[in-house]
């Protein structure tokens, strides 16, 4: 079901849930389709036969209790027949017990974070399609807007429980082939589950309007055989241990600026734009901004704690590491027309956190 061919039906199911939804939908399509055909056939017959231009004379009947009871009871029976499988499907969607692993999914404006709770590591998954590809007339990659830098990697054949929440506004995690759609609600945890049948890449999108870049926060699930998954997991754990930043390390301006540019493009760019000019009226410019060119502490504070005045400016202290925050602030203070040459070290952020990390 990938590629750019037009599809007429639900995507090919890859989990028992999706298959159940697919079959239920097919059944409903048949039932409602037949009802529609029947109703319109009767109406069409009347339209063709009982018209004045054919000289048809009206018969002024206007009630028939038997008929009216029949067409009240029959739909009721049809609905009862639908309700039985529909109820079973709801109950099976909601039964998350017996899960073999748990992933916490956090929706952010506008990216997803996946935490492997059993293994105590996690990462953020961003849109991988370059912004330039959205321009009118630009070349668009095969999986335009449905590709990420870090997919959610999972093993096949294991019941995965999802715990969903959000950081800012409501998002909704939807992967059609997995048969899962669940809102991620800030301040609350919701759960869902699935078990993928066979290895493959399954793509989806946020399906609850969550602000400006709602259309740009895709979901990619990379399902692998248990053996492949075990290999990926081992490598990932090793990498996580190696990549842990030492907050005491002292960085050079160039190194921080380089890292900061990546952090900026993943987190700040949607609002403040690649040019640093922001969007007038919505998101302030950083290029030439008084905060960015002024006191270092004020700049750190607004990035770390967010803005009191504009709730769209989040408290990044909760999302980014000390090194990432130091890097992005250093970048902002030394990008575009801002050249104050100041370096913010991870230790500065670490101190703000109270040194607890």
């Amino acid at each position: 079901m990938q590629g750019d061919t037009a599809a007429f039906n639900l995507q090919a199911p890859a989990t028992s849930l999706a298959r159940m939804e697919y079959d239920l939908h097919s059944m409903l399509l048949w039932v409602t389709g037949l009802i529609f055909l029947l109703v319109s056939a009767v109406m069409l017959y009347a339209i063709v036969r009982h018209r004045k231009s054919r000289g048809h004379v009206a018969k002024p009947f206007h009630e028939n209790t038997t008929v009216e009871i029949i067409w009240t009871v029959i739909p009721l029976l049809i609905l009862l027949a639908i309700a039985w499988p529909a109820t079973r499907a709801v109950l099976s969607q909601k039964s998350t017990h017996g899960a073999e692993m748990t992933i916490r999914i956090t929706g952010y404006q506008w990216k997803w974070r996946y935490d492997y709770l059993d293994d105590n590591f996690g990462f953020v998954s961003h849109l991988a399609t370059p912004r330039a590809a959205t321009a009118a007339g630009a070349a668009r990659p095969e999986h335009y807007l449905l590709e990420v830098d870090a997919p959610l990697v999972l093993p096949t054949g294991r019941k995965v429980r999802l715990l969903l929440t959000a950081n800012d506004v409501i998002h909704s995690w939807w992967v059609p082939q997995l048969g899962v759609k669940q809102d991620a609600i800030p301040g609350f945890l919701r759960d869902a589950w699935f078990m993928v049948d066979k290895p493959g890449i399954y793509r989806g999108q946020c399906s609850e309007l969550c602000g400006k870049d709602h259309g740009f926060m895709p979901i990619v699930v990379d399902a692998r055989s248990p053996a492949d998954y075990a290999r990926w997991r081992a490598a990932r754990l090793k990498q996580a241990a190696a990549a842990a930043d030492d907050p005491a390390r002292v960085w050079t301006l160039a190194a921080l600026r380089q890292r900061g540019e990546t952090v900026y493009s993943q987190n700040c760019l949607p609002c403040h734009q690649a040019s640093g000019k922001g969007i007038p009226g919505n998101f302030p410019a950083l290029d030439g901004s008084a905060v960015v060119n002024g006191d270092k502490a004020a700049h750190i504070r607004i990035v770390f704690y967010g803005s009191q005045r504009n709730p769209a400016m989040q408290a990044w202290g909760k999302q980014l590491s000390d090194t990432d925050i130091a890097a992005v602030i250093t970048y902002e203070r030394n990008a575009w027309s801002n050249h104050n040459g100041q370096v913010v070290q991870p230790a500065d952020i670490h101190a703000l956190r109270g040194g607890s990390g």
């Binding site: 009982h50 206007h62 668009r140 807007l145 759609k181 609600i185």
Partner: protein, 542 residues
Amino acid sequence: MDLAGNTAHGMVPAHKPQGLARWLYATNHKDIGSLYLWFAFCMFLVGGVLALCIRAELFSPGLQFFQPELFNQLTTLHGLIMVFGAIMPAFTGLANWMLPLMIGAPDMAFARMNNWSFWLLPPAMTLLLLSFIVPGGAAAAGWTLYAPLSVQLGMGMDLTIFAIHILGISSIMGAINIVVTIINLRAPGMRMMNMPMFAWASLITAYLIIAVMPVLAGAVTMVLTDRHFGSHFFNAAGGGDPILYQHVFWFFGHPEVYIMALPAFGIVSQVIPTFARKPLFGYSSMVYATSSIGVLSFMVWAHHMFVTGMPATAQLFFMYATMLIAVPTGVKVFNWIATMWQGSMSFETPMLFAIGFILLFTIGGLSGVTLSVAAVDVQLHGSYYVVAHFHYVLVAGALFSLFSAVYYWFPKMTGRMYVERLGQLHFWWSLLWFNVTFFPMHFLGLAGMPRRIPDYALQFTDFNRLASIGAFMFGLGQLIFLVNILYSLRHGKTAPQQPWEGANTLEWQIPTPAPYHSFNPPPQLETAENGVVLSMREGGQG
């Protein structure tokens, strides 16, 4: 029964204000009805232009014309303007124009309040449109204005909240007028259980409006205080719950769906019998079906929230309750078809739109049954399937019924006939392009395209392109309607008192065009079901 030229039934020429004052200080139900209808049509064009902006952007993948933040403003304002600016005022306008004529009342019960309820609309809509040019732009959280997203937005959101408060006051006053007029001002002999279905539908709709508009006002007021006064209704960190907003909103929102559907049912129940030359089949079951739809509409709101993570028991309750609505709705469709059955039908424009309504509303109703099944809704919620579904209900439902009504009553309102050939063209054109626009959206939703996105993956290109072409053609076709109305107002053929052979409700018993003041004093009536007038005598207790 021919009373044309009989000035004794209160059809006396009387004081008729002229110039701007006639409209500004209007208290005459016909003038206010015309104001409502013209206003609604203007807003229909404005909302339509916003829709065409959306479809232009979605013609191809990539960001062609609008940046995402503006795109979200367009979808939001398209929804708000069509619901509160076009459809609801149009139905209120029709009720204003026709209800007194159909039940034999001299005017609406509260003539000055009637003026006020119309004149609140233009400032409210001005606020909404102004919000495009304030810093931060218009509200961009969708017409549902879900918190916490709506708490984040700029001052355009505050203007929207204020506009919704004003619109709510206007709707409530209009609804009170409808209720009181129907309950108290029916002419002697117009029994409740003989009232035209349009009056019944308007009455039940008016009760729904009175019940739920304050709920909406409450929801947006909570957003307002969360935004500015430090309350935490929708902020978990302060003990609130973002989902509370959705419960309150949809407690308004689902009855609102029927506020836009029930008057349509009423119109179709007048038009079909006229052109089938047969009484409405199952009148009393129509009344009960409409009432039970009204009652059930309060018990199904959370079917808009199946993926918020409700417990299974709640999902099941709302699923069953929603499926149940299919029964009275089915009864109505069957009754209309039974009315057509063995009739002597002719197919003038009002009848065409009414038949188009039945056919397409049935599709919208059946896709609604599909959506009601919570397990399937998991795949369809928030997708283009939903967009397809509610446009089948609101465009082919509410809008088609409104066109049917305007063509049907145009002779009575203006004294002139519309151009039948243009009317027929308008219908067939709308029918074709409506389906080209909205049918492919079912496929888009099934294939996994979320709604409210400014840009999409490549596999969705074909159907989006088709839908965009359809939308532009559909929009173009509405100019046929405008041309027809403008031309016919001045140059249309003079309408007879009885332009429709099968029309036998009260409004057709008075001269055409309807005199400026009518039924003062009210007549003595002998009526049958659905407002059919058997005899009419001069009143006098005035």
